[in-house]
Symmetry: C2
Subunit: 552 residues, 2 copies
């Protein structure tokens, strides 16, 4: 059997090794180890279509066991090189490709469809919680960025600047938005007059640009897509409630839709967003046990309203500065899904966000079997589609069933329905789960009768969804170590684990941990253990435990 | 009665007077008359909330007739100054505001919701016709733009260029995408290998930047939102069919959703997109009888595939260049809706695209009436919402019913439901149409019984939708003149009308018409009269009639 060859991006992977930084929002600059290698480009990134010659097995019962074919693949095993595996998956599953400009990414239809599923869910939640969508220009006068001191410090090193427009040098450089707090406040200042104009709660779906030196598809790219919510309130309590509400929306989304058991919590002062008084975060453990900051919600206090003079007249006729929040989730989340659930076989998508939830593979050997099998496959597809299941038939004749099984498993489709001539005779199908390999993941003899079939498929999709969350939760918990001293912390981090321990030490101590172990405080989790605590570093009383980990 | 004051942008309107140009795609540069005045900015653009003191009338039967209040408004009458009226509507209805950078626009929630309705419809149609969404980076290497000769000629004068990234001067300037044909082809070249990879049919929803000197909200802004479809095919016939299919999708959308009776047709060579072999367009007549190019679909032939080497191996093993199309509709379309349907009262939205289709205004005088009226209003709202109608209650106590009537008419909401104490007693409501002023537009005594109410509201929304289309069609047809000589053409244009006449003259003659009359060929309409024709300019035989008009 010829090699099952997939396109590879691994030759370029040295450029994409991540350094531990937080992505959305930060104000600390880290040393960059390798600038020149950071140019990932698209050479040789082609999907070669000469694939396996057809094997002769033509019914699902006799399809060549997947594991035997696997050795022919050139997907780097996850355990061998997590980063190479990640880049392989992105290329092979056609999720994204490199753009012509260093660090940019083309999001291909399959990857974009995952983002669309994320948008679809969150967009409804944002509206339900009282936010309206709108759109702000992406060009921001440079002077705006300078108005909030910590904001400019955080963002100025990574700005893309437009200096020429319409063939002429511009009088003032324009920043291509890295985030929109400044322009939002400029506009809010014109729209907000009295307490009756508050709360003002908006969201935009947009592209943003940050001149990152070390990039990695989805996780950190020069340009990425996100939503950014911005709100203004009359009181600090309302702003705080909103910031917490939105991190709750993200947490629920991560658990229920993405099957990612994130840990929600508060960032340390060092890790707080440039311009915020508090940053809430959801932290996810990837398959290599690095942390991914998967969404953030900031209580901005009055920092931007003071900088921009965003004031309102309160019920007593007094002028007050508004209290604000901002919150964001980006295409980085797609990277989080890949790195949480994927395995050596490829992508594994949570059913709730999968662009294709069920792939139907018709199987026939003789010409006279073909019509019956295809008719049955089509009827199954229509039944499921009518029930709201995202289903596709792979009826191509160039590929064998075995090839198709591998291909759609690699694409992470949660369920496969196999229909051969014997199934047509018995009016039943075989349902295979992506998350359980081999015979254990198959249920034979599911009736094609619509109500039975729909109930079985929907029930199994729910099971896969829960099972993915459960698996990720076990993985997370088995890699979380409670520590009570700095030595224990160092040991846990050295083992690649997350360390959870009481912390009340200084910012300087926090930076020391980072320098010595590579780990940062991911968050002070909302869920805190009972009892008195002593800081793992100083032995002083501590109110809270913090979670330390290496991160993307 | 105090003045009903609205915010005004008219003091800035001189900057926004349009010159006849086509927006999306062009390759002719026109002289610019007034560059320095083109800086529209947001000063004094505030919505002053001191509105009319409450009149004492409190039931809909006794609400002060609208026309008496109207004189207090500062909306410029449409007939007096169309452009000032347009800018007033945009400010007053809170559709958009000026961004801090010259020529940029903030799309406010109500305006953005219209764009979302457009997206929702088209996104489904694009998928139904076989296209997948994806996303290309917005930064394009400058060298890409130079690869297709007419493309660079058309776009280079209006590019925004990023020259600094991450604090350093870039080696190659980056273009902020004005359109994506070049980067799309760069990527297609890597994805397309054989005929089996074709057709490749994609779409992206994105922002684009064109350094326009004379801007006008929605109609022409430095940055705007659009969708751009890009396809690659194995044969010229398939590409042509696709280009025509997409202009048909746009035409159907304009008629059925926006109630705009566009004229679909082919652009003249002079007006064809920079890089296309054929451009199809939909041309809409605005309320001032200027034409608006509302959507375009291009047959790109092999221009870009030759420039970028986008080739495939055909079924005979031969290497061939692909045949391509691109097509786009933008936020400009929102401007088209405003300028087609609006009147002196304000915005008038076609029900199929209205963010709010029905506004419910509860009316009570005495405290003991309030509960009954509000309960009935809420129940009406819930009934309609459950039936899929976009409905909102205006229950604020600061405003009188009369104020609310004016306000929601100004916002263009197609239907108003009025509920007073007498209606509660009789279990009925009053339904008022936005498109028919006064008593003629009211239907009294509509039962609140859900099935009756829903049927009446849905039926009336359909009637409003048809009526808007009919009205716009009559207006268009009564302003279209058939001409057979250049003198007749000049006369028609001088009267502000559109001229339709046989044309087979030269590009030079076409430019002469433009110089002498200000009108351009909007299109050779698909619908052509029968019979032999003689060119209105030269008297030579002509195959087709062309439509001439002044345009935005």
């Amino acid at each position: 059997m010829g090699a099952l060859r997939w396109p590879s991006l691994t030759s370029l992977s040295s450029a994409a090794v991540a350094v531990p930084r937080h992505h959305f929002h930060r104000h600390i600059r880290l040393p960059l180890r390798c600038l020149s290698a950071a140019n990932f480009s698209a050479q040789s990134n082609t999907f070669e279509k000469e694939l396996t010659p057809p094997p002769s097995e033509l019914d699902h019962s006799s399809v060549k066991p997947k594991l035997q074919q696997e050795k022919d693949r050139v997907i780097t095993p996850r355990s061998q090189d997590f980063n190479a595996w990640y880049l392989d998956i992105i290329a092979i599953a056609e999720l994204a490709d490199y753009g012509p400009v260093r660090g940019t990414m083309v999001i291909r239809p399959y990857g974009y469809a995952i983002w669309e599923a994320i948008q679809e869910y969150l967009n409804v939640k944002f509206k339900e919680t009282g936010h309206s969508n709108m759109y702000f220009p992406q060009f921001i006068p440079y002077s705006f960025i300078e108005k909030e001191a910590s904001h400019v410090e955080g963002f100025s090193p990574e700005l893309a600047l437009v200096t020429i427009g319409g063939g002429k040098e511009l009088e003032e450089k324009l920043v291509v938005r890295p985030t929109s707090e400044t322009i939002v406040n400029h506009m809010f200042t014109q729209w907000i007059h009295s307490y009756r104009d508050l709360p003002l709660m908006i969201n935009q779906w947009a592209n943003v640009t940050r001149w990152e030196m070390r990039t990695k598809p989805f996780v950190r790219t020069l340009e990425f897509l996100w939503q950014e919510g911005h709100t203004a309130h009359a009181t600090p309590e309302e702003a705080e409630k909103e910031a917490q509400q939105m991190i709750d929306v993200y947490t629920k989304f991560a658990f229920e839709q993405a099957a990612i058991p994130v840990i929600p919590g508060r960032k340390s002062k060092v890790e707080t967003f440039a311009g915020a008084t508090k940053t809430y975060t959801i932290e996810a453990m990837m398959g290599d046990r690095k942390a991914l900051q998967a969404g953030t919600s900031h209580n901005l206090g009055q920092n931007f309203s003071h900088a921009f003079g965003t004031q309102f007249t309160d019920e007593n006729g007094q002028r007050q500065h508004v209290w604000q929040t901002s919150w964001a989730i980006s295409t980085r989340f797609v990277g989080g899904i890949i790195m949480t659930h994927g395995d050596d076989t490829g992508l594994m998508l949570p059913p709730n966000l999968a662009p294709i939830q069920v792939i139907v593979v018709p199987i026939w050997k003789k010409a006279d079997e073909k019509t019956g099998v295809l008719d049955a496959a089509l009827s199954v597809k229509e039944t499921l589609q009518a029930a709201g299941v995202k289903v596709k038939i792979d009826e191509s004749e160039q590929r064998t069933p075995g090839w198709k099984y591998n291909f759609w498993e690699m694409k992470g489709v949660p369920l496969r329905i196999e229909i051969g001539p014997r199934d047509v005779s018995s009016g039943s199908v075989v349902v295979s789960r992506r998350d359980i390999p081999g015979k254990q993941g198959k249920v034979f003899g599911i009736s094609m009768e619509p109500s039975t079939l729909v109930a079985c498929v929907k029930g199994t999709l729910d099971e896969v969804q829960s099972s993915l969350l459960q698996r990720a939760t076990s993985f997370r918990d088995s890699n979380m170590v409670d520590v009570s001293s700095y030595n224990e912390l160092k040991e846990a981090i050295a083992q690649g684990k997350w360390a959870r321990g009481p912390w009340s030490a200084s910012d300087k101590d926090e930076l020391k941990v980072k320098e010595e172990t590579g780990a940062t405080i991911r968050c002070f989790p909302f869920e805190q253990p009972q009892g008195t605590k002593r800081c793992l570093m100083t032995g002083n009383p501590a109110d809270e435990v913090a979670i330390f980990a290496k991160s993307y």
